[in-house]
C-alpha cells in the first residue's frame, strides 16, 4: 500500500524540480502539473477503498499522534483529495496550452503548490499543519490571481492578499488560544479533551478559527475577495479556486466545528449565514454583466448551499453537502474552463459577448450548457442529484427552522436558473456580436476540449448514476460527524 504522505510529498517535490526541468528543456514544465496530479489521482483513488474501511493514519518521525505531525487519510480526506487531483489534472491539461504568456514555469509551480496545499489541508490531522498547508494554498493563489499582471488582476491579488492575511492572523490567534488551552495541536487530541475547558474561552478560539478559515471558505460576509479574485485570475486558476480552494476552506471550517469542537449548537447560526451567503451570491450574480464575475458570485451561492447542508448536522445533510461539493467542483470547473477560451476568442468578458457562441464553438458551448444545467439543478445532471439530496435532508430534519430556510434557499435556485439559462439562451439563440458574424466555427485546442469534455461526461455520468459516489459520501459524512471514532482511530493504538 502506498502511503498517503506521497500525495503531498511527490507533487511538492515535482513542484520544486519544475524550474530545473525548465532549465533543461524549455517546454517541459507545462507537463509537470499534469503528471503530479495524475499520480495524486491514481494514489487517492487506490487508497479510497481502504480508507472506507478505516482511516489511514500516517505518523511522521515515528511519534504517536498527540505529539507528532500526522496525516489522517479518512474517507472524507481521500474523497476530497481525489476530487482535488481530478480537477487539478484536468486543469493542468487545460493549462498546457492556455498559459502561453508570462512566467509560465512559475505558473506551473504555483499551480502545483495550490493543489498540494489543498491536498494537505484535507489530509492533515494537525491544526498547525492545517494552517501551514492553508498558507501554501493561499500564498500561491495570491500570486496566481495576479498572474496576468494587468491592473485588475494585480488589484484583485492585493485585495485578496490583505483579506487572506487578516484571516491567517485570526487562524493563528485561534490556534494559539487552542494550544494555550490544551497544549496540543493534534485535532484528535484536542477533540478528546474539548469539553474539559470552560466554554467561553474555547468559543473565542472557535470564533477566531471560523472567521479565519471562513475567509477562504467565502462564507458571507467574508467573501468580498472572491468575485475579484476569481474573475481576475486566469480561467484555469479560477477553476481551481472555485472548484477546490474554497472547498478546502469549507473543509477546514467543517473540521474545526465538527471534529475539534463538536460545536453542533452553533449550527443554526451557521445555517442562517449560509442562506444569507446563498441569496447574496445568487442575487449579485443575477445582475452581473461580466461572465467570470457572474460565475464567481454563483460560486458564493453554491457555497451557501454547501454550508446549508453541513449546518444540518445530520448524516444525510452532510453527505448532501459533500455531494454538492463534488457537483459544484465539476460544474464550476467546467464553466470556468469553457468560458476561458470563449473569453480568449472574443476578447471580452461581457456576458453578451458569448452570444452566438453555439455556432462558433459548438462543443465548448454544449459542455458549458451541461455545466450550467447541472448548477441550476436540472436532471439528468449531477446538480439535480445533489440538490435533491439537500432538499431531502432539509425536509428529513423535520425542523420548521430548516424547512423555512430551505424555502428561502430554493428562491436562490430560481434566481440561479434565471441567470444561467439566460446565458444558455445567449449561447444558442442570440445573434453573435457584429464583428464576430463572419467568424467560422473554431474549437479550442484539444488540451482544452478534453478536460471540458471529461467534466461534462462526468457530470452526466454521475448525474445518471449517483451510486458512483454515494457510498463514499456516506462514509465521508460519517468521518466528519462521528468525533469519537475519529479520535479513536487517530489516537487508537
Amino acid at each position: 500500500m502506498v502511503s498517503p504522505i506521497l500525495l503531498i510529498a511527490v507533487p511538492l517535490g515535482l513542484a520544486f524540480i519544475t524550474p530545473l526541468l525548465g532549465l533543461a528543456r524549455k517546454g517541459a514544465p507545462r507537463y509537470v502539473p499534469a503528471v503530479a496530479m495524475l499520480f495524486n489521482l491514481l494514489v487517492s483513488v487506490s487508497l479510497l477503498p481502504d480508507a472506507l474501511r478505516a482511516p489511514i493514519v500516517v505518523r511522521t518521525a515515528g511519534w504517536a499522534p498527540p505529539f507528532s505531525i500526522h496525516l489522517v487519510a479518512g474517507p472524507l480526506g481521500l474523497l476530497l483529495s481525489s476530487l482535488i487531483a481530478l480537477i487539478g489534472l484536468l486543469v493542468a491539461v487545460y493549462g498546457m496550452d492556455y498559459i502561453r504568456e508570462g512566467a509560465t514555469t512559475r505558473y506551473h509551480v504555483l499551480s502545483i503548490l495550490i493543489l498540494v496545499g489543498a491536498t494537505g489541508v484535507v489530509l492533515t490531522g494537525d491544526v498547525f499543519n492545517l494552517f501551514v498547508f492553508f498558507e501554501i494554498l493561499c500564498i500561491s493563489s495570491y500570486a496566481l490571481v495576479a498572474y496576468w499582471g494587468d491592473s485588475a488582476s494585480v488589484e484583485a491579488g492585493a485585495k485578496y492578499l490583505i483579506q487572506g492575511a487578516i484571516g491567517s492572523s485570526f487562524v493563528l490567534i485561534g490556534i494559539g488560544l487552542l494550544y494555550g488551552a490544551f497544549g496540543a495541536l493534534s485535532m484528535a487530541d484536542i477533540a478528546a479533551n474539548v469539553s474539559s475547558v470552560s466554554s467561553f474561552r474555547l468559543f473565542v478560539s472557535l470564533a477566531f478559527l471560523i472567521t479565519g478559515f471562513g475567509v477562504e471558505a467565502a462564507v458571507f460576509p467574508l467573501n468580498a475577495w472572491l468575485p475579484d479574485a476569481h474573475s481576475s485570475a486566469p480561467s484555469s486558476i479560477s477553476a481551481i479556486l472555485s472548484g477546490i480552494a474554497i472547498k478546502a476552506g469549507i473543509y477546514a471550517v467543517a473540521r474545526v466545528v465538527y471534529t475539534i469542537y463538536g460545536a453542533q449548537s452553533i449550527l443554526p447560526f451557521v445555517a442562517l449565514l449560509s442562506v444569507a451567503t446563498l441569496l447574496i451570491g445568487e442575487m449579485c450574480a443575477f445582475s452581473q454583466n461580466d461572465i467570470k464575475r457572474l460565475l464567481a458570485y454563483s460560486s458564493i451561492g453554491q457555497m451557501g448551499l454547501i454550508v446549508f447542508g453541513l449546518a444540518m448536522a445530520s448524516a444525510t445533510g452532510v453527505s448532501a453537502a459533500l455531494f454538492v461539493v463534488i457537483s459544484h467542483a465539476l460544474a464550476k470547473a467546467l464553466l470556468f474552463l469553457a468560458s476561458g477560451y470563449m473569453i480568449l476568442r472574443t476578447g471580452s468578458r461581457e456576458v453578451s459577448s458569448l452570444n452566438g457562441m453555439g455556432t462558433r464553438m459548438p462543443l465548448t458551448s454544449l459542455c458549458f450548457t451541461v455545466g450550467a444545467f447541472s448548477l441550476v439543478g436540472l436532471p439528468p445532471f449531477v446538480g439535480f442529484a445533489s440538490k435533491f439530496m439537500i432538499v431531502r435532508a432539509a425536509l428529513e430534519t423535520a425542523d420548521t427552522f430548516f424547512v423555512v430556510l430551505l424555502a428561502i434557499a430554493l428562491i436562490g435556485t430560481v434566481i440561479e436558473g434565471a441567470y444561467f439559462l439566460r446565458i444558455v439562451q445567449g449561447l444558442y439563440f442570440k445573434p453573435a456580436p457584429q464583428q464576430a458574424r463572419e467568424e467560422t466555427r473554431k474549437e479550442p485546442p484539444l488540451s482544452a476540449l478534453v478536460p471540458v469534455g471529461v467534466l461534462a461526461a462526468l457530470i452526466v455520468a454521475v448525474g445518471l448514476y449517483p451510486g458512483l459516489v454515494e457510498r463514499a459520501l456516506g462514509a465521508a459524512a460519517n468521518d466528519l460527524l462521528d468525533r469519537d471514532s475519529y479520535v479513536q482511530n487517530v489516537m487508537g493504538d
Binding site: I139, A146, A152, V154, S169, I173, S232
Partner: protein
C-alpha cells in the same frame, strides 16, 4: 498559564494586534495597510511565544540531568512561530511586490482610488 491572567505579555501582544487591525481598517494607504498586517503578524507571533512561555523557565534543552521538564518553556510554540514568521515574510514580500505593480497601474496607493473591481 491562564489566558486572562494579568500578564503584561498578553496585553502587549493583543494591543499590537489591535493596532495593526486599526491601521488596516483606517489607513487608506496600501503600504500602511501592509504595515498594519505586519504589526498584526508580529502581535500574533508574540502571542504564540507567550503561550508557551513560563515565567522563569529555561530553554527546553536537556543539557543537565537535574533539569526537570516542568521548568522548561514549551518548545512547540517557538517552532510554530518560526514557521509563522517565515510565512509572514513571504506574504509581506508578495504584498510589496503586488504593491509595486498596483502603483504601476494606478499611479497611487490610495485604497479609496484603487476600486477597479467592485460590485
Amino acid at each position: 498559564m491562564s489566558l486572562l491572567s494579568p500578564s503584561i505579555h498578553y496585553v502587549g501582544c493583543f494591543s499590537l494586534v489591535l493596532i495593526g487591525l486599526y491601521v488596516v481598517l483606517v489607513k487608506p494607504n496600501l503600504i500602511k495597510v501592509i504595515i498594519g498586517i505586519n504589526l498584526m503578524d508580529t502581535g500574533v507571533n508574540l502571542f504564540l511565544v507567550t503561550v508557551g512561555y513560563i515565567q522563569g523557565g529555561t530553554a527546553p534543552i536537556f543539557s543537565e540531568a537535574a533539569r526537570q521538564p516542568e521548568g522548561m518553556v514549551d518548545p512547540v510554540p517557538q517552532a510554530l512561530v518560526l514557521t509563522a514568521i517565515v510565512i509572514g515574510v513571504s506574504v509581506l514580500a508578495l504584498a510589496l511586490a503586488l504593491t509595486i505593480r498596483v502603483y504601476g497601474h494606478y499611479g497611487t496607493l490610495d485604497l479609496r482610488k484603487i476600486k477597479g473591481l467592485r460590485w
